[in-house]
Symmetry: C2
Subunit: 882 residues, 2 copies
């Protein structure tokens, strides 16, 4: 017997998700649980992959198995595909392993043709319904299978309505739909050169292949890239007997979540439309009713639906996103899946499930994706700020954002690539807009509900969105919208608050987020479980305070150069750099010393009792000087001006000569890091003195200070031993001067490959290693981040030359190997060696997992990423603890 | 019994070189061989090191052993140190393991004081000699031990001569020297506050310590750095009873080499002075007589000397550099050591020793230091070029050079550091001038012979030198010299030919070197022995031809970008770079194709039958564009000029925008190498097409072409697999078009750490690896060579933060580890994987040894370094063959 490609719903179950896709597996699971699921069968993802491997061939064996399953389905429902009197109609839907809502193709009402439509009319005694269904089928099939663009059909219905002087679809009669059908068929013939296919078996095979093909359409590829879904999974195809929500007022269709996917509240959340097909709800063309109103309209159906919702949630132990249809007062469940939710909701639901006894703490933690938390840690609108509210829509996806109003996805994408912040404003969004949504700060639509395409996609991406904001009148011709007499043109800045639905004119002031109680408790559980430390990168007392509130267990990276950048200090720093000799330099350093000391005092105070890793001066000195090109322009102008002050020109020329002398071809690889300390020891000495004087002063006040002095950019052990000696000598001197001793450590960044390779030698002089994975990535790849991200890295990731941007996700195969090597070599020399990471990877979940597996002691990240790191660290422990 | 610190000459032998230093070991060896060596003893290098370890303490035990040895010496010669009637006089000389001529201190005539000088006068019946010796001793001891500068004494003798109306030392009487002595003693008292030490035991101890201390004087440290002599070896001290060459006309002193150290000819080569002490010869203050004339003056002594020379050369199996003194007609040998020689001489002597049956081929090869060969592979003066010869001196060290005449070592050093070429012109050089000699292109002195300080040091460094050019009159006040009415001022350019002794005005045209027969034969032996391939880096047919003549076995690196730099091509290359789209770019590439093809044809023709590795375009594109700063100045000027052509300004502004768009923060780490090929495949495709079209064309002529296409800067296997496919597809297309097939390889540079770390993956797509160790060093250290060498690398090497400049000598501990790893990983995937190196290290001997030990198949270097690489490869095989 050949491979099994096709499964009747009753043959599958939820465990076969990889084979049947999420939708198929759940339909099977529900069928076997006795829920009211219209019968059908699934063609497996394996078939899809073999289809592609064979060069897009739907094999005879696949076809044979599909025909067998169809026969079984026909038997089950007592109808036959293509039967003139009693025709079976089916839906053909994609269903991949991971949900990709709206990205792939669907065909409904398949099986209709010029004959069967009459049979359906007769059998249902509802010719209007039958012809409406047929025109829908022609339109959908033509779009999905025959590649006839949607807009070819658009004016036909309007034209009929105009002629009849009506405005609503519901006013259309059976005859009107027949007129539409006739015109549709002419259009198909004109566009494809062939008649609309009348053979139902032919329709079915073509639709199946079209769904397979839609796995590789542009928007599906982009969606997979964004959501990191592997390309090789393929999609299953679900063929299911149709039920109809559009057969009359005892019919309807809807979508509901078992809990609120935006807030996590334990309340049924969803929408429905009476006398409509599912596409009407999802497409957002008609604004649907809240699900609770169904209780009044169809109380029995509602009660039955609530019971099913509870059952499904218990069964799957997660919030469910359920599609249903009511045909002649009978409820059918068409789909259930784990509901996509905002980070807020994810946190609350995970917490509630533990309290309700459904999940363990570990399971609950794993339910919250750390990378999603970004959205609730984003800044939000300051409630005290002036807000020029111009409209209010549905709060479809929480968060606040500002940007230029842009009415076209392509333009939004283009401008965002140029670095502009844009707000995508559309009547409604379709899957073709995905790149525009991705590019925008937020989304505003005038139509569609909480489960419309825009809402679902925005929530999935953690982007703020307001949907169904019907007050605003969008004019796509002039690219503007008007609301209450105000006109917002393309490029005008607007702000939205996706949590309240408010649309505001101009940019609105944002403030720091506050963590919800549930979030704080969930993070508490994370802390109980994780055994990877979390520190923060902070350069000032304010950030230190915030990070500590967010749970940081110390500072992993305090960049001292940020302190040099303060506007009142730059002139002193410049005079230090431009000093002609050591004496002059010492004068400037003398002035900087009390300033640096004050910085450190503030940070030590906030971090009392916790370790504070301070990195000595790192960047090349010319970063603190005027820009060379500006100087050249200035001098050229002075030279050309006969009235210019010769003295000023002379001074500028001297400055230019010095700036030129300090300018480097490749500053990233130039005179920076400890190379500054080695050549100008007086700079590092001043910094060390500031650290120890600050530490002694606070210690005298009884504050526990734990300084860790970090030497940057070490490539050879000799650099570290020289700088270590300098720090130790300075400490000793300060301790003697002040009569106070402090425990401290001296360690190094591992940020060039040579440091990693020779970590055994370097460890002899280091109390700790901190992996500077930003620079280590740059040197390991030979990529300058500044250049690569603007020039070719985008291309590399888009075209899968690299699996990820290695500056976002640590490159385990390359950079990771060096980190692993350095940890092993370093601990070989010094078994207790403390190791951490302070590159931006320290706040990224995959990279944090890597750090845990590699045996690092801590990660360090920006203050707002500390909660993410705490959760990701717990994930790592749960997943990889030996 | 304590450690033995002191060895009588008869207790030592040549094998104890590490303990006794070269000089002490050879004195011992000669003593035991029965040669006429004045008796003495050696204080060991171990004593020196313990002296330093103890914080510069000459221990009682050392002193006791020295006193015992002194007593034995006194017994042996029948004189006593400090004995008023029969005083023993000794010399106290340094003697390190490796010869450092003139770098450390020496004291002669030690033992003289106000009493013993009279005893010596009486005993020798030569008061003039005795007082002359005493004044010499005071002067030397004061300089070396008491730190009284030489110049304090300078005018004293001149003053006495003036008063007496005489000009020559030989005219000075005993009384005159007594006057000098009296004044010298006043000077010492004035400068040191104490009387000149009269106690001989005290003199001896102080002199010994001074010699120990001189191990760490500035010039010794610099010399060791240049010659890579470890700092921890220490020096021995040789205390030897004095013999006198300045006691009359039956006395004399000299230095001779057993063969000509400049040409290698088997002829006694040296100089002597009658009635003089050794310092007179070495210092170059009197121009000495050629050694052969001694045959007339003292035939018996000469014969005896020749016999000893032959005996010593046979004994040591190497050219000997021998110091001798004749006292009262009796010959004494004061020192022998292996003679320093030019590369020319080294080659000839090594070859001759094999022919003479003294050495095996392997031994002979090891006698020639590959790094020394540089000098004979340097270009030399074109004999047909116009030469404005202004003077002729002694051809002291061969080679040709041009540079600005500079009369001061400090200034020469400073200007050379600024990148200027200088010629050091001095009356004579002293060890204090070492940094100036090091900095200069060549040396010209008006005094001193072939064994003068300048000559010895220049030969050791392989620098051209002319000595004793007495025609030129140097005026150090005006910093100029005059010769035959011509005045050469500071900064004027002169040229010298150290092989002929000719001094020329201006810069003289140089031509390629021709290899001597002996050198060709020696290299032939190297080829027989070595099992490491040697290729060349060549970008044009001329270099390819030259390299093949020099023995290259193929091209290891052909940089295609050099072909883009030709002035007639730059506009086309620019239009390719500035193309707005692929179509425009293709037009430019179409024009470049035939040019590149022609390049490759020429190279393939020269390298017929040998592999040619061609690297596709590597540097960032903006290297081919106008310089941004120049453009900015130009535009600013146009903007300020009210009459400027607006169209020109507009065009310039557009150009500026494009240049700015291509300008990178860190071009080394930017959009270059295969990243260009990935993003603009049409560029690499054009290059591949040019390669294969050229190859097919030549193959059709019956020429064997072996192209190896090399993809630069690969960091991830995906880059290589994409580019490999592009090359293969292009090859296939060309082969089909031309009906010709060529065998070829596709491989990659390993030049970023990630490539080395993931070499197992990369090897799946590579037929060969070529290590680009220049870039690999940059990325492994995180050093930009352009910046590091100008900014801090010098400091690092000078201060021993790094043992070597890693761009000159491959860093085995760091970069080398990556190379080793990559070879192991690569061969793990593909056992036969061909590996080579094409960085500049491929022509450096230590790095070549590393390549051999690591199992590389070949090294590749510039054409002129090919012979060096062949010899170094043979050395590696001889030393490390398992």
């Amino acid at each position: 017997m050949g491979k099994k490609y096709v499964y009747l719903f009753q043959e599958g179950n939820a465990d076969l998700k990889n084979l049947l896709g999420g939708k198929g597996a759940n339909l099977a699971e529900m069928t076997n649980a006795g829920l009211p699921v219209p019968p059908g069968f699934t063609i497996s993802t394996e078939a899809c992959n073999e289809y592609y491997n064979a060069g897009k061939v739907f094999t005879d064996e696949m076809n044979r198995q599909a025909m067998d399953a169809l026969a079984a389905l026909e038997q089950q429902v007592g109808k036959k595909l293509g039967d003139i009197d009693n025709p079976l109609l089916v839906s053909v839907r994609s269903g991949s392993v991971f949900s990709m809502p709206g990205m792939m193709d669907t065909v409904l009402n398949l099986g209709l043709n010029d004959q069967t439509v009459n049979g359906l009319a007769k059998k249902t005694n509802n010719p209007r319904f039958a012809y409406d269904s047929y025109r829908r089928f022609i339109q959908m099939f033509s779009g999905v299978v025959l590649n006839v663009d949607h807009y070819h059909f658009e004016h036909v219905i309007d034209h009929v309505k105009e002629q009849k002087g009506i405005t609503e679809d519901t006013q259309m009669t059976a005859e009107d739909w027949q007129t539409v059908i006739a015109e549709y068929k002419v259009i198909v013939k004109k566009q494809t050169g062939e008649d609309f296919p009348q053979e139902p078996m032919d329709q079915l095979k073509k639709a199946t292949i079209a769904v397979f093909d839609s796995w590789n359409n542009q928007r599906a590829i982009i969606y997979r890239r964004v959501h990191k879904i592997p390309d090789h999974l393929g999609t299953a195809v679900n063929i299911q007997s149709m039920v109809f929500g559009n057969m009359g007022d005892d019919c309807g269709t809807g979508v509901a979540f078992t809990r609120n996917p935006s807030t996590g509240e334990k309340l049924l959340y969803g929408e429905y439309l009476i006398n409509a097909q599912g596409e009407d709800v999802v497409a957002g063309t008609r604004t649907p009713q809240p699900i609770v109103t169904l209780q009044q309209v169809m109380p029995e159906v509602f009660d039955q639906f609530v019971a099913i919702c509870n059952r499904l949630e218990s069964h799957y132990r997660d919030i469910q996103d359920i599609e249903f249809t009511i045909e002649g007062g009978k409820l059918y469940i068409l789909q259930t899946r784990n509901g996509k939710r905002t980070a807020h909701a994810a946190v609350k639901i995970a917490y509630d499930f533990v309290i309700e006894g459904i999940l363990t703490k570990e399971e609950a933690l794993l339910r919250v994706d750390p990378s999603q938390l970004d959205q609730i840690l984003h800044r939000r609108i300051d409630p005290n700020a002036k807000q020029d509210v111009i409209a209010k829509g549905l709060p479809a996806s929480p968060g606040a954002a500002s940007g230029k109003a842009i009415f076209d996805a392509d333009l939004a994408d283009k401008l965002a690539n140029e670095g502009q912040k844009v707000m995508l404003v559309r009547p409604e969004t379709t899957p073709d807009d995905i790149h525009g949504i991705l590019a925008a700060q937020g989304i505003l639509t005038s139509r569609g509900g909480m489960t419309s395409h825009a809402a679902v996609v925005a929530r999935g991406m953690g982007k703020p969105a307001i949907c169904g904001c019907e007050e605003i009148k969008i004019d796509l011709k002039s690219n503007s919208f008007t609301v209450n007499g105000i006109t917002v043109k393309e490029g005008d800045i607007i702000s939205i608050d996706g949590g309240t639905g408010r649309v505001m004119l101009g940019e609105v002031k944002l403030i720091d987020p506050v963590l919800s109680d549930e979030f704080v408790k969930l993070l508490g559980w994370a802390d109980e479980i994780r055994d990877l430390g979390v520190r923060t990168n902070a350069d000032n007392p304010e950030d230190s305070k915030k990070a500590r509130e967010f749970g940081a267990e110390g500072i992993g990276l305090c960049r001292t150069e940020h302190m040099f950048m303060a506007s009142d200090r730059v002139p002193i720093v410049q005079s230090m750099i431009l000093a002609e000799n050591e004496e002059e330099r010492l004068v400037a350093l003398e002035k900087l010393l009390p300033m640096q000391q004050e910085d450190f005092e503030g940070i030590f105070r906030e971090m009392a009792g916790l370790p504070v890793t301070i990195r000595l001066l790192d960047p090349p000195l010319h970063e603190f000087l005027p820009h060379l090109e500006d100087l050249v322009v200035e001098i050229t102008k002075l030279q050309m001006n006969p009235n210019a002050d010769a003295r000023v020109l002379h001074e500028k020329e001297i400055l230019l000569r010095k700036v030129r002398g300090l300018t480097e071809f490749n500053p990233m690889l130039g005179h920076r890091g400890c190379r500054l300390g080695v050549v100008y020891p007086e700079i590092y000495e001043m910094q060390a003195r500031a650290i120890f004087q600050a530490a002694c002063k606070l210690a005298a006040e009884g504050i526990v200070v734990i300084p860790e002095v970090m030497i940057p950019l070490v490539g050879h052990v000799n650099e570290l031993s020289l700088m270590r000696k300098l720090v130790e000598d300075t400490a000793k001197q300060v301790f003697e001067e002040l009569g106070q001793e402090i425990e401290y450590k001296v360690g190094t960044m591992i940020e060039v490959p040579r440091a990693a390779i020779t970590a055994d030698e370097i460890a002899t002089e280091a109390d700790f290693f901190s992996f500077g994975t930003n620079d280590l990535t740059q040197t390991t790849f030979g990529f300058s981040r500044d250049d690569a991200e603007g020039k070719f890295l985008h291309y590399y990731v888009d075209n899968k030359v690299l699996p990820e941007n290695p500056f976002a996700v640590l490159d385990e195969q390359g950079v990771g190997k060096l980190v692993d090597l350095a940890v092993k070599l370093g601990r070989g020399t010094k078994p207790g060696l403390k190791t951490g990471i302070c590159g931006e990877h320290g706040g990224e979940k995959q990279s944090i997992e890597f750090c845990y597996r590699t045996g690092l002691d801590y990660v360090s990240c920006s203050p707002f990423r500390v909660p993410i790191a705490r959760l990701a660290a717990a994930h790592a422990t749960i997943k990889f603890k030996k």
